[in-house]
């Protein structure tokens, strides 16, 4: 007997995986980017089912609002024409396919050997994660203050590097 939640999970998983397949197989790159948006939505719904309100909303905000937008902008910047001509995958595409299928089977086999594989009771409560506790842990000197500061340094590094790469230096000199 499948409960409503389980049915929703299955439908959502199917849609997400279909969108993911389209991401890697679409001929037009913009279509791939739009399918990516759908896949990211599916992942956000999965986060919601796992009881994490904060990260589910953040997934939409950061991944769809920022990363997907960035990818779409990059696609637009690097096109010569509307149509992507020629095959979009390498000639030997079947080899990665075999590797990936083997990896998937291997992962499932390894996971099913794990004792808690059939675990179906959650430890997280109805109210989801406690964002306040997360905030306290992030700035707690005995907690995660180092990742917190490193994250900001990482972002600074990424921003500086990306701006350095993306701006046209020849034009900047003028």
């Amino acid at each position: 007997m499948i409960t409503g939640l389980q049915a929703f999970f299955l439908v959502n998983a199917l849609i997400t995986l279909f969108a993911a397949v389209k991401v890697v197989s679409s001929r037009k790159l913009v279509h791939a980017a739009l399918w990516l948006v759908l896949a990211l939505m599916g992942v956000a719904a999965t986060f919601a089912m796992l009881g994490s309100r904060f990260f589910s909303v953040i997934q939409v905000f950061v991944y769809i609002g920022a990363i997907a937008t960035l990818i779409i902008v990059a696609v637009m910047l690097t096109r010569n024409s509307m149509e992507d001509v020629g095959p979009q995958v390498n000639r030997g595409w079947w080899l990665p396919l075999v590797v990936v299928v083997l990896l998937f089977v291997g992962l499932v086999v390894v996971l099913s050997g794990w004792g808690d594989f059939g675990l179906s009771t959650r430890t997280v409560g109805a109210e989801g994660e406690n964002v306040m506790e997360l905030g306290k842990a992030l700035v707690d000197p005995n907690g995660f203050v180092l990742p917190f500061e490193i994250a900001s340094a990482l972002l600074l590094g990424a921003m500086v590097a990306a701006i350095y790469l993306a701006t046209d230096r020849k034009e900047g000199k003028r």
């Binding site: 769809i64 937008t69 637009m76 964002v131």
Partner: protein, 404 residues
């Protein structure tokens, strides 16, 4: 519970009782109740647009010394219905080479992304769609979806101008989300929660007094998010031949229009809820309907200010708009968050009066300093712009790098 104290919850309880008396499962009753609640809220929001379009045309007409719509019905109030009738029967012209799915999905997403905000707005002390505990970020996430609608419209129409305008629009929308997120962080800091109902309940002193500059930043950036004058570069007729919706016609075009009007009203609701105390006011907790009236009045004031701005201000140039965001609002908001965080720790929340004075003074100082810097930059730029340039006889500019 009597009808007159809390009519909405009275009706809800009555409906629930009715459904249960039909012998439905409790889960199903919840589902049906949610369905009805969501349907009524969205439908009311859509119908509100009909009124808003009339109101805005009338008000802007008055500002510009015209009458506005005045033929159909008293004060022309049925004008919008006539327009609706017309737009419903207009032909939908799909341009050649349009990407079917993206083209048709875009107007739906644009309206849907605005309507979804209404799910978390606390209308009274007792009526709120869902008291979502990541509400503030939910607002931003929904904004990100609206941005997707613009991208889809621009890409799906297969038109250069639509594409160009969509990219400008996206640049504007994403830029102004940055100061908005930072400005919203200050109420969250004061409250210690991201749920909108908690934010409203916390406002014993309205946040506009505790964080006036943050309120100003939020107001400016939310007007930019809507894309109204002075930030209406998204649909500037003279530059981009109407913007990303150029290839749309009939009700598909109308939906972008609906989204625009509804969005303008929705940001007024949010401003009233986040900075003007929402439904709070004398007697609002005993009589929730009174809170609804307060909320509506506050929203109306904010909305009116928005319309006045729309009627009276000229349009920014795109570089000015980007400068305003990245070189003024964003650094200002960052400094403001930092300064408020320090001041809030030095003056604890228990000393409410002192805190209010300190916050007001702090905001005043920061705003004055920012204004000073801005004025200096502006006058420097004006000198460059006003430097005498030869008109009658053209002077060959000196070669810039003589080396080669």
């Amino acid at each position: 519970m009597s009808f007159w104290i809390d009519p909405i919850n009275f009706v809800i309880a009555w409906l629930k009782g009715l459904l249960e008396s039909w012998g439905l499962q409790p889960g199903l009753v919840t589902f049906v109740m949610y369905l009805i609640g969501a349907f009524v809220t969205t439908l009311l929001a859509m119908l509100l647009v009909v009124f808003l379009i009339w109101l805005e045309r009338k008000l802007i007409g008055r500002v510009q010394d015209r009458l506005g719509p005045n033929r159909l019905g008293p004060w022309g109030i049925f004008q919008t219905f006539a327009d609706m009738l017309k737009i419903f029967t207009k032909e939908h012209i799909t341009p050649d080479g349009a990407d079917g799915v993206a083209y048709n999905l875009a107007p739906v997403i644009s309206v849907g992304a605005v309507l979804m905000v209404w799910a978390v707005i606390p209308f009274t002390a007792t009526v709120v769609g869902v008291d979502f505990n990541a509400g503030v970020l939910y607002l931003m996430a929904v904004g990100a979806l609206g941005e997707m609608g613009v991208i889809l419209a621009g890409w799906g129409s297969n038109n250069k101008y639509a594409m160009l305008a969509a990219f400008r629009a996206v640049a504007q929308l994403i830029s102004y989300e940055v100061p908005m997120v930072l400005a919203l962080m200050i109420p969250v800091m004061f409250t210690g929660s991201m749920s909108l109902q908690a934010l409203v309940k916390e406002q014993d002193i309205w946040f506009i007094f505790l964080a006036p500059v943050a309120a100003l930043i939020f107001f400016i950036s939310s007007i930019a998010e809507v894309g109204r004058t002075p930030f209406d570069l998204v649909e500037s007729e003279s530059e981009l031949v109407s913007g990303f919706n150029i290839e749309y016609s009939g009700l598909k075009f109308g939906m972008f229009y609906v989204a625009d009007f509804l969005h303008a009203f929705t940001i007024s609701l949010l401003f009233a809820a986040l900075y003007l105390g929402g439904w709070r006011g004398p007697g609002a907790e005993q009589y929730p309907m009174l809170g609804f009236v307060y909320f509506a009045l506050k929203t109306a004031v904010v909305y009116f200010i928005g319309i006045l701005m729309r009627a009276s201000l000229p349009r920014f140039r795109i570089d000015q708009m980007m400068d305003l965001n990245w070189k003024y609002l964003t650094p200002l908001a960052l400094v403001l968050v930092a300064a408020t965080a320090v001041a809030g720790k030095i003056v604890p929340a228990e000393m409410a009066g002192l805190r209010l004075v300190v916050m007001l003074a702090l905001n005043g100082i920061i705003f004055a300093a920012a204004d000073r810097l801005m004025t200096r930059r502006r006058s420097a730029r004006r000198q460059v712009a006003q430097a005498p340039r030869p008109v009658a006889h053209y002077v060959q500019p000196a070669p810039t790098d003589p080396g080669d």
